[in-house]
């Protein structure tokens, strides 16, 4: 922690929140069914004004929201994006997780250290810029390497000239900007090639690629948008909507692949509020599909949420985005406002007696919030720790009321199914039992990383990498592919002809999950990659259950030792034994996930671990093979 800030609380000038900030917080408190939901947004409002969250400010927020001071501090210290210490006016955070790390993230940290004249973890003497590397992923893997500057993303910082431009801008107190967005991409991607599985396929969801600007309401309607909502509200019963989604075999796109229609049908028909919560906490390294859907196809999501809400009898829906997705959040808010002004949301949607409010809610940096019950806890203003089940959210979810939690990509399928029918949908792709469009997030060492929408199961690992990805960068060989971000076992190079559907990837010894494919080239040091991935889970473990909290930290300590050249031969079997003490014994899936990077990398690349232990390597920031 050298160069880290330490706050002298005793001699510090105490801060009082402005009247404007206080009334903004009061407005948040009035907005939600329960005041405590406003706690996280209120802390963020306070941090926006003060720059960080000193104790007296936390106390003021707690008093305004009506919780104990300790409860407000509980959230303040849990979420990565809430700061208990001040930092520079421009706070630069470089992603160094897999894949950003081996795609130049660590190099970017060094370049910024040189360019800004400070070490990582420090702030420039004028207080202008602070530099940190993070262990989280920020959902920009296709634009690696990248960094976040406050609320802004600066992406594809690949060339020395990009770094120079970034440093010059930061020193001038500015963030590089592209008009119309808070984000800046130094090398925007071209339109995806129509080749292989995409040659005769017209995308249904990502229909505007390579566009990065938001589709307006007028444009969306001109393309047939909101007709499905009209159809559902005017000519279908809620059960009919649920049934068509069930008949279409729409499987949840968040990773678990559970039938969406089935999930909706579990909601009991009881009086009182029911909730739809859309999970946009896209935090799995290698995953960036929901971000593009929200930033561009915002109205498709609004329409899908409206139809799903109608089906389950919900009048107040929540869209929960990861806190880093500020741009996507603002665009979604704009889309919701636009839809409401047009009578597509609010009281009496389209002149019917169906009412719907949509809350766009941003988290504050916590991977665990992607777990649906932790997400619900977060929405309730509580520490986001997963709940033990039963009860399931369908019975007792948000505020202990019946709740459906669906992924963004799942929901954007809904308007198309309602509009075109279950048979149309099942005909998309080779397998009617799990059909429909699927967005594959392709990142890592490929020439054209990005989101590629194809019929589910219409392609293999190799075809996707060659056709859509344009082959491996630098013509290198593939060491393996992580098919579902870093949570699922790595698929080694000899199994890349497996089909990219649920069954195909399972047969290859892994799982499709959210279809976030990270291509790892043969020159990446697998021990470093495994260490880095386990560090992610150590950092993101909520701490609720013993095996994950204690076990993953222990795994990381041992891996760090091996990675630094201090390993012992027996460590390898110990890592496997320790993994078994975690997997299957934890409360939620995160602890199981955390053992994947250990078990699968050792299973496929044991010799590399042995070499790291016996090869006399030293500590290094280098991602390439060292032994």
């Amino acid at each position: 922690m050298s160069g880290a800030h330490t706050v002298d609380h005793a001699n510090r000038q105490k801060v009082t929140l402005s009247a404007a900030c206080r009334s903004a917080i009061q407005a948040e408190v009035a907005k939600y069914p329960k005041p405590r939901t406003a706690l996280l947004p209120s802390l963020k409002l306070a941090q926006k004004e003060v720059g960080w969250l000193p104790p007296e400010v936390v106390a003021q927020v707690a008093d305004l929201v009506g919780v104990s001071h300790a409860q407000a501090q509980e959230l303040t210290t849990f979420y990565s994006m809430l700061h208990t210490e001040p930092h520079g006016r421009l706070h630069v955070e470089v992603c160094t997780q897999v894949p950003c790390g081996f795609m130049g993230g660590d190099r970017l940290v060094q370049q910024l250290e040189q360019g800004l004249g400070i070490a990582e973890g420090q702030t420039t003497p004028d207080g202008g810029v602070s530099l940190h590397k993070t262990v989280e992923c920020m959902g920009a893997c296709h634009r690696a390497p990248m960094c976040r500057v406050g609320d802004h993303y600066v992406e594809s910082v690949r060339e020395p000239a990009d770094v120079q431009a970034l440093c010059a801008s930061l020193k001038a107190g500015k963030v590089p900007a592209t008009a119309g967005t808070r984000n800046h991409d130094f090398h925007p991607a071209p339109a995806p090639a129509k080749v292989g599985a995409s040659a005769n396929y017209t995308p249904i969801l990502l229909r505007h690629q390579p566009r990065t600007t938001q589709v307006s309401l007028a444009e969306y309607r001109a393309g047939g948008g909101y007709q499905a909502l009209e159809k559902a509200l005017r000519s279908m019963t809620p059960d009919a909507v649920t049934n068509v989604v069930k008949d279409a075999n729409l499987r949840g796109r968040g990773g678990a692949a559970f039938s969406a229609g089935m999930k909706w049908s579990f909601v009991p028909k009881v009086p009182g509020p029911k909730y739809l919560v859309v999970n946009a906490d896209e935090s799995e390294p290698g995953t960036f599909k929901d971000r593009e859907l929200m930033e561009v196809e915002s109205h498709m999501l609004v329409e899908g949420m409206a139809i799903a809400s109608f089906a389950i009898g919900c009048n107040e829906a929540f869209l929960y985005l990861r806190g880093e997705y500020v741009e996507a959040g603002e665009r979604m808010r704009a889309a919701v406002a636009e839809a409401k002004a047009a009578g597509l949301l609010g009281k009496g949607v389209l002149g019917t007696n169906f009412d719907l409010e949509i809350h766009v809610f941003l988290g504050a940096g916590a991977y665990i919030c992607g777990e649906e019950t932790a997400l619900l806890e977060s929405l309730e203003g509580r520490r986001p720790m997963p709940r033990s089940r039963p009860p399931f959210p369908a019975v007792a979810g948000l505020y202990q009321r019946p709740t459906v939690v669906n992924n963004v990509e799942t929901i954007v399928n809904v308007p198309h199914i309602v509009q075109n029918g279950a048979d149309w949908y099942k005909a998309i792709g080779p397998n009617p039992k799990s059909a429909g469009p699927k967005i594959y997030c392709l990142s890592g060492a490929v020439n054209r990383p990005g989101n590629y929408e194809l019929p589910l199961g219409a392609t293999t690992f190799r075809e996707l990498i060659e056709n859509q990805g344009g082959g491996v960068r630098g013509g290198r060989k593939i060491k393996g592919v992580l098919p579902a971000g870093i949570s699922a076992p790595i698929v080694p190079a000899d199994k890349l002809d497996a089909k990219l559907d649920y069954e195909g990837v399972q047969a290859a010894g892994s799982m499709l999950g959210s279809a976030s494919l990270i291509v790892i080239p043969d020159d990446v040091d697998i021990v470093r990659a495994a260490t880095r991935m386990v560090e992610f889970f150590r950092h993101e473990s909520c701490g609720k259950c013993t095996p994950c909290r204690e076990g993953v930290a222990w795994l990381h300590k041992v891996l760090q030792r091996i990675e630094g050249g201090q390993g012992k031969t027996e460590d390898i079997d110990f890592l496997l034994s320790l993994s078994d003490r975690i997997a299957g014994k934890v409360l939620c899936a995160l602890g199981d996930f955390a053992t994947s990077p250990v078990k699968a990398t050792i299973a496929h690349f044991r010799s590399e671990f042995i070499a790291a232990i016996t090869g006399g390597r030293g500590a290094s920031d280098d991602w390439s093979k060292r032994s």
Binding site: H9, P55, V58, A59, A62, G66, V67, S68, H69, A70, Q71, A72, Q73, E74, T77, F78, T84, A366, R383, M385, S388, P390, R538, H539, E540, S541, C542, G543, K544, C545, T546, P547, R549, E550, G551, V552, A553, W554, K557, V558, R561, F574, D580, R581, I582, G584, K585, V586, L587
Partner: protein
């Protein structure tokens, strides 16, 4: 019978009510499943994972503390898979837990130590350094936290959130860095904080009062009743070498539900009675031997001489005997009969009210089930804290609570708080009564009355200090009538706070209404009073389990056993008579209250300077 579920645990047939958790079902057939985070009075969370068991047809191990029984379920707690699960958790819990059992207060009564002894490994596989966190961190004046010992079972934070509802401590940070704490710079302030020390399954939360003072196996446990107020919470007094070191909860489901307030737990203990444990000179000024004033100075005397001198002084002129309402039922009986007979010319009576102007009707435990609650200036959170926890059971089940008065510790749980000063209490109560009767009233009272609409049992509490006001009592009557309060299912009354007020009124009714100091007595004998009466220029006889007032008027001092050092009975605010059992050892001259009063009565029959 349809509500019973049959299942098999470790080959034994079990039949328990639907909804029972596996961990509880196992107990019914003598199978103990190890737990840390589970506590029967807190909501299950499944955090520590210690109770992993195998259930046939389920792919993964399940936590017995969160899984309800199912018909035909086949549960195994001792198979290879279950034992592997439990041992995995134990190994991981111990990975970062310090090996400081020999200097840990919890050693000897520590579930982590016990479970490790039973089924843990003998060596650690951790080659890396253990995680370092703060040790001996004071959370408040009464509680110290060792963050390295904490196993993050969240019992303490769940207690504060679920039982008093104040969330005064919380988990901070996340993952392996998680710690228990408060907002930076604030302390753990809750009237119920001491319960977390008892709930802590390791030596993380410790009591500053008890820290490093004993080993659990050196303690004698004596059942008694908390002397802090009139609720009558049951306690276990832990005694080492004649000295009472700590007060722990001893569950009485009708009175305390297993909890204690901090006032009872930390402030009801008497100063040590034996010189060996009295601490440095001047720190503990408790009287240990009888004293009489000789030539202007208080000097040690025999008990007989001191009591004779006291009796003589009481007979020498205008005198009074002021009794504390902390005296046992037995002492009150002696005072009402023998003492009154022995000192016919002496005014004898309680120094504080023992008969409530608006007597309590209904049982404490009824509070948990009432559907509507009105509090007129009682503020149980601050005055009779355990009653507030009973009321929270009702409010968390949805019962509206309307509070009228200046202070309201249950503000989080109040549907309406008509916040008025002491002087506005009568008007606000009358307005509420009027609104409940459908008459025009203030908008606040009308809204509060609307919230109180409905059926079912109800409770009305009145603050005893205000209950002397007839208009307030009339308003309270009207409110109780409007809500249909009955003693069978509800609760009404202005409970007096004094430990044995109700017992005193029952056992010495003739002394209950005496305004004992009204006749300007010159000789006053104070027995057990918190503030002994000293009339300027008069003569004072002080019978106390505390310190002697530094005053020239004090002529005789007699040491008195504290209620915890006394065997007898007391009656709590809802009329339940409970036994006190003397704990610790007293010097022979430190008498129990009824012994001392009897001796005083006997001494009256003896001429001054003579022998009985």
């Amino acid at each position: 019978m349809s509500d019973l579920v049959e299942l098999t645990i470790d080959g034994k047939k079990v039949s328990v009510p639907k909804g029972t958790l596996l961990v509880e079902a196992a107990k019914t057939v003598g199978i103990e499943i190890p737990v840390f985070c589970y506590h029967e009075k807190l909501k299950p969370v499944g955090a520590c994972r210690m109770c992993l068991v195998e259930i046939e047809k389920m792919p993964r191990l399940q936590t017995a503390c969160t899984t309800p029984v199912g018909p035909g379920m086949v549960v195994n707690t001792k198979t290879k898979g279950a034992v592997d699960g439990q041992q995995s958790v134990l190994e991981l819990l111990l990975a970062n837990h310090p090996l400081d059992c020999p200097i840990c207060d919890k050693g000897g009564e520590c579930p982590l130590q016990d479970n490790s002894f039973k089924s843990g490994g003998t060596t650690s596989r951790l080659a890396e350094p253990k995680r370092a966190k703060e040790k001996a961190l004071p959370l408040s004046d009464t509680i110290v936290l060792d963050r390295e010992r904490c196993i993050l079972c969240y019992r303490c934070t769940r207690f504060q959130e679920e039982i008093p509802g104040d969330s005064a401590i919380v988990p901070l940070e996340r993952g392996g860095e998680s710690v228990i704490g408060t907002l930076t710079g604030e302390s753990f302030d809750s009237p119920f904080s001491g319960n977390t020390v008892e709930l802590c399954p390791v030596g993380a939360l410790t009591s500053r009062q008890y820290r490093f003072r004993s080993r659990p196996w050196d303690l004698q446990h004596v059942p008694s009743v908390c002397s802090g107020c009139s609720v009558g919470c049951n306690v276990r007094l832990d005694v080492r070498d004649a000295t009472i070191l700590r007060v722990l909860a001893r569950e009485n489901k009708a009175i305390d539900d297993g909890w204690l307030c901090d006032t009872g737990r930390y402030q009801s203990l008497p100063p040590a009675i034996t010189a060996a444990h009295a601490g440095p000179e001047g720190k503990n000024r408790r009287v240990r031997s009888p004293m009489v004033r000789v030539n202007g100075t208080l000097q040690k005397a025999t008990f007989a001489d001191a009591i004779a001198r006291a009796a003589a002084l009481l007979r020498s002129g205008k005198s009074a005997i002021a009794l504390s309402a902390r005296l046992t039922d037995e002492a009150c009986q002696v005072a009402g009969a023998a003492l009154r007979g022995a000192f016919p010319n002496t005014a004898i009576g309680f120094i504080e009210p023992v008969v409530s102007p608006w007597p309590v009707q209904g049982r404490i435990q009824n509070l948990a089930k009432v559907k509507r609650i009105v509090d007129l200036g009682c503020d149980p959170w601050h005055t009779l804290p355990i009653l507030a926890l009973w009321l929270r059971k009702a409010t968390t089940a949805g019962a509206p609570l309307v509070v009228v008065g200046p202070d309201n510790g249950l503000w989080r749980d109040s549907k309406h708080w008509l916040k008025v000063g002491n002087d506005g209490l009568v008007a606000a109560a009358e307005a509420l009564a009027a609104a409940l009767a459908g008459k025009p009233a203030t908008p606040e009272a009308t809204a509060a009355a609307a919230a109180l609409k409905g059926d079912g049992p109800a409770a009305v509490l009145l603050g005893a200090p205000f209950a002397g006001n007839a208009r307030l009592r009339a308003a309270a009557d009207a409110i109780a009538q409007a809500l249909g309060v009955t003693a069978e299912t509800g609760f009404r009354g202005a409970p007096l706070r004094a430990f044995n007020a109700r017992g005193a009124a029952n056992h010495a009714p003739e002394l209950a209404r005496t305004d004992v100091l009204a006749g300007s007595p010159q000789v006053v004998c104070s027995i057990g009073c918190d503030a002994p009466v000293v009339v300027p220029g008069g003569k004072a006889i002080v019978v106390t389990s505390g310190a002697v007032p530094d005053s020239a008027e004090v002529e005789v001092v007699l040491p008195l056993a504290h209620p915890y050092e006394t065997t007898g009975h007391v009656t709590n605010l809802d009329g339940q008579r409970q036994a006190l059992q003397a704990a610790g050892q007293r010097p022979a001259d430190v008498r129990m209250d009824h012994e001392l009063l009897q001796a005083l009565a006997n001494a009256a029959a003896v001429p001054a300077g003579g022998r009985a």
